[in-house]
């Protein structure tokens, strides 16, 4: 039963991963990522990690993929533009990926440790929570600081995005977008009323 479930999730996960890197439309890539993430959540359940599985569904599938889809919608993003030259030729990248996969697989197959038995409360919210608020209390606080910094950074970047979006319309043709806010500041400093 577990083996069948694992086989299904492995196939779906790899299919999702291939979908991420091969899809032409960014939305399809996002859906491939969603498929891979949900398959991994099932794998976490098979590994007795209920808490991580729930986090995976809520944070990754729920929040991060939604953020990606939202940005794709906001930017009306399309796939890669056709271009003759790419930084890394796809064949070279595929060969590199194959070598990397072979090396990692060789390392993975050397693991000989047999899993021991674990109690019924292994991987529950309680057990992971006790570890988080016990030995890992300090890293936990650092993680909260990381989240706050991320929030502040997103707000600050969002504000700057508005300033940049307004600037090119007022800048003279030929003025580069990066220079526009400075020129607008100079115009304001000269005493010209805005608008």
């Amino acid at each position: 039963m577990e083996a069948v479930l694992f086989a299904i999730t492995a196939v779906l996960g790899v299919a999702g991963g291939v979908g991420v890197i091969a899809a032409r439309q960014p939305v399809h890539s996002a859906l491939g990522l969603l498929l891979a993430l949900l398959s991994l959540a099932v794998d976490y359940l098979l590994l007795d990690a209920q808490f991580v599985a729930v986090l995976q569904v809520i944070i990754y599938a729920g929040a991060i993929v939604v953020l990606f889809v939202f940005i794709i919608m906001l930017l009306r993003a399309t796939g890669d533009a056709p271009r003759a030259r790419t930084a890394v030729p796809p064949r070279a990248a595929a060969a590199l990926g194959a070598v990397l996969a072979a090396a990692l697989l060789a390392a993975a197959l050397t693991v000989r440790t047999e899993p021991g038995g674990v109690g019924a409360d292994y991987g529950t919210v309680e057990q992971v929570g006790r570890a988080l608020f016990g030995p890992y209390a300090l890293p936990f606080e650092a993680a909260s600081i990381v989240l706050v910094v991320g929030m502040i950074g997103a707000v600050a970047l969002g504000k700057r995005a508005q300033a940049i979006a307004v600037a090119p319309a007022r800048a003279a043709p030929g003025v580069r977008a990066q220079d526009a806010p400075a020129s607008r500041l100079a115009a304001g400093g000269a005493g010209e009323p805005e608008g």
Partner: protein
């Protein structure tokens, strides 16, 4: 845990390699980002597998921290991508190479 651990680790290895190829071949910054997420998830699967092998929850706690960092990273990264798009009308990583000098 009737499925042997090397199988989980193999799945993780394949997903990580797929993510690497995605980072190398795709030029849309959004898809490069998704590939990075794929790689992070592959490592998370390794963490959870080894946590189960050892019978401790330390690996699962590490996955929690990876989730936190990944969430912050995605928020900041997507905000930067939106900024770049508004300034230059592109999310192609090959077009945004001003730091190359």
């Amino acid at each position: 845990m009737s499925v042997p651990a090397p199988l989980y680790l193999s799945l993780s290895a394949v997903l990580f390699a797929l993510g690497t190829v995605g980072v190398l071949v795709r030029r849309s910054a959004l898809i490069v980002f998704m590939s990075v997420e794929l790689m992070l998830n592959a490592v998370n699967l390794t963490f959870v597998t080894f946590a189960r092998l050892r019978g401790g929850v330390d690996g699962q706690v590490l996955v929690f921290f990876v989730l936190v960092v990944a969430a912050a990273e995605v928020v900041i990264g997507l905000a930067i991508i939106v900024n770049i798009f508004r300034a230059r009308e592109t999310v192609d990583v090959d077009d945004v190479d001003l730091l190359r000098g």
